[in-house]
C-alpha cells in the first residue's frame, strides 16, 4: 500500500492553551464552542508523571490509572494552529500530568461563582508555575451573581490578571476570552522585557 505523499510537507506552528477549572464548570463546553472539530478525547497514564508504583518491578506488574482530557483545534492560518486542552475531569489529578502545562502559551481558568473554591487549585497551579492565565467567569444562563472585581478580590489575584465574564456556550464569547488571554500574554511579555535590565 502506498502511504506516501508527493507534495512537500508543511508543518504548522502549533500552540497550546489550557482550559482549567472545577468539575462541571463548562470546560468542554468552551472547547466545543470555539473548536473547528468536535472535541476529541485522549488519555494518558499517570505512570508518566512519576507516580509509577515503585515497589512493583517489571512492566507486566505495573498498574496505572488514566486521566482523560478533551481538546479542540482552531486553524488560524495555514501556518498557525491553536489547540485547546481541557484539563481532565478528575480535577485532583490533572496537574500530575506535567506535560499538559509544559510549553502552554497560557491558560483560561474557568470559575463558577456558586462554587468559586473549585478553581482555587488551578489558580494556585498557574501562579506557581508562572503560566500566564486569566479567570473567565462562566455566567450560567446569563446569571451574573458577582462583579469581576468581587471575583478578583475573592481569588486574591495579582492586579494584572484579567477577569472576564462570559457564557461558555457562546462561540463569540469564547473567542473574546481567548483574545483577552493572548493580549494579556503579549502585554505581560512586553512589560517584562521593558522591566528587564538592558
Amino acid at each position: 500500500m502506498d502511504y506516501g505523499r508527493s507534495k512537500s510537507v508543511r508543518i504548522p506552528l502549533a500552540l497550546k492553551i489550557l482550559v482549567a477549572g472545577g468539575f462541571g464548570v463548562g470546560k468542554t463546553t468552551l472547547v466545543g464552542a470555539v473548536s473547528e472539530i468536535m472535541p476529541l478525547q485522549t488519555e494518558e497514564q499517570l505512570t508518566h508523571a512519576s507516580v509509577a508504583i515503585d515497589d512493583v518491578s517489571g512492566v507486566e506488574g505495573k498498574v496505572t490509572t488514566t486521566v482523560a482530557m478533551d481538546f479542540g483545534r482552531i486553524t488560524l492560518t495555514d501556518d498557525l494552529v491553536l489547540y485547546l486542552f481541557g484539563t481532565p475531569g478528575q480535577d485532583r489529578f490533572w496537574f500530575l500530568w506535567e506535560e499538559l502545562a509544559l510549553g502552554a502559551l497560557g491558560a483560561v481558568v474557568m470559575a463558577d461563582t456558586r462554587r468559586l473554591p473549585d478553581c482555587f487549585p488551578s489558580v494556585d497551579y498557574f501562579e506557581r508555575s508562572g503560566t500566564p492565565f486569566l479567570v473567565a467567569v462562566n455566567c450560567f444562563f446569563g446569571e451574573q451573581r458577582h462583579s469581576p472585581q468581587k471575583v478578583r478580590e475573592a481569588l486574591d489575584l495579582d492586579p494584572d490578571v484579567p477577569v472576564v465574564l462570559f457564557d461558555a456556550r457562546n462561540r463569540q464569547d469564547g473567542k473574546r476570552v481567548l483574545v483577552s488571554l493572548v493580549e494579556h500574554i503579549r502585554d505581560r511579555g512586553s512589560r517584562r522585557r521593558a522591566a528587564a535590565p538592558a
Binding site: L13, L76, G103, D124, V179
Partner: protein
C-alpha cells in the same frame, strides 16, 4: 455573600502524591488498566517521547513490508498522510498517548514516519506570533 472564604495565597496545593500508599487509586480515579499489552510491554519509545503537539507525517516508502506490523501501525500510517499531531493521532485511534508514542516510534525507527517537534517548550512565542493569534481569532 460568598459561600466560602477567599482563596488563601499559596494554597495547600500538592503537586505530587507522597509516599507509596497509592491513595490516588480509588474509585474516582477510573479503571486500573494494564495499557501496554499493545506495545508488547514497552512503555517508553526508544528515542524519548514526542511532544503532544509534535506533528507526525507518513513517508513515502513503497518498498516497505508492513506484514509484521500491527493494525494500529497501519492506521497511524493512513492517518498521517497529512501531518497530524500526536494528540490527534491518539484521539482518533482511541488509544492512550503513551501507547501511541511507542507505536509512532516503531515507525520512526524504520523510516516510515517523520516527526516534527513544535517550538521549544517554555520559550514563549514572540509578539508577531501572538499578534497573528489575536488577529486570527478575531477574524474567525
Amino acid at each position: 455573600m460568598w459561600d466560602s472564604e477567599p482563596r488563601p495565597r499559596g494554597g495547600d496545593f500538592e503537586p505530587r502524591p507522597r509516599g507509596g500508599d497509592h491513595d490516588w487509586l480509588d474509585e474516582d480515579a477510573g479503571p486500573v488498566v494494564r495499557p501496554y499489552t499493545m506495545t508488547g510491554g514497552r512503555v517508553r519509545p526508544v528515542n524519548g517521547g514526542l511532544n503532544l503537539l509534535a506533528y507526525v507525517v507518513a513517508r513515502h516508502r513503497p518498498d516497505a513490508d508492513l506484514i509484521h506490523y500491527q493494525p494500529e501501525h497501519r492506521r497511524i500510517l493512513l492517518l498521517t498522510r497529512e501531518p497530524l499531531s500526536v494528540a490527534e493521532v491518539a484521539a482518533r485511534l482511541d488509544l492512550a498517548v503513551g501507547v501511541v508514542r511507542v507505536l509512532i516510534d516503531d515507525l520512526m525507527q524504520v523510516g516510515l514516519v517523520s516527526s516534527y517537534e513544535t517550538e521549544a517548550a517554555g520559550r514563549p512565542p514572540d509578539n508577531d506570533v501572538l499578534q497573528a493569534v489575536i488577529d486570527g481569532l478575531r477574524s474567525l
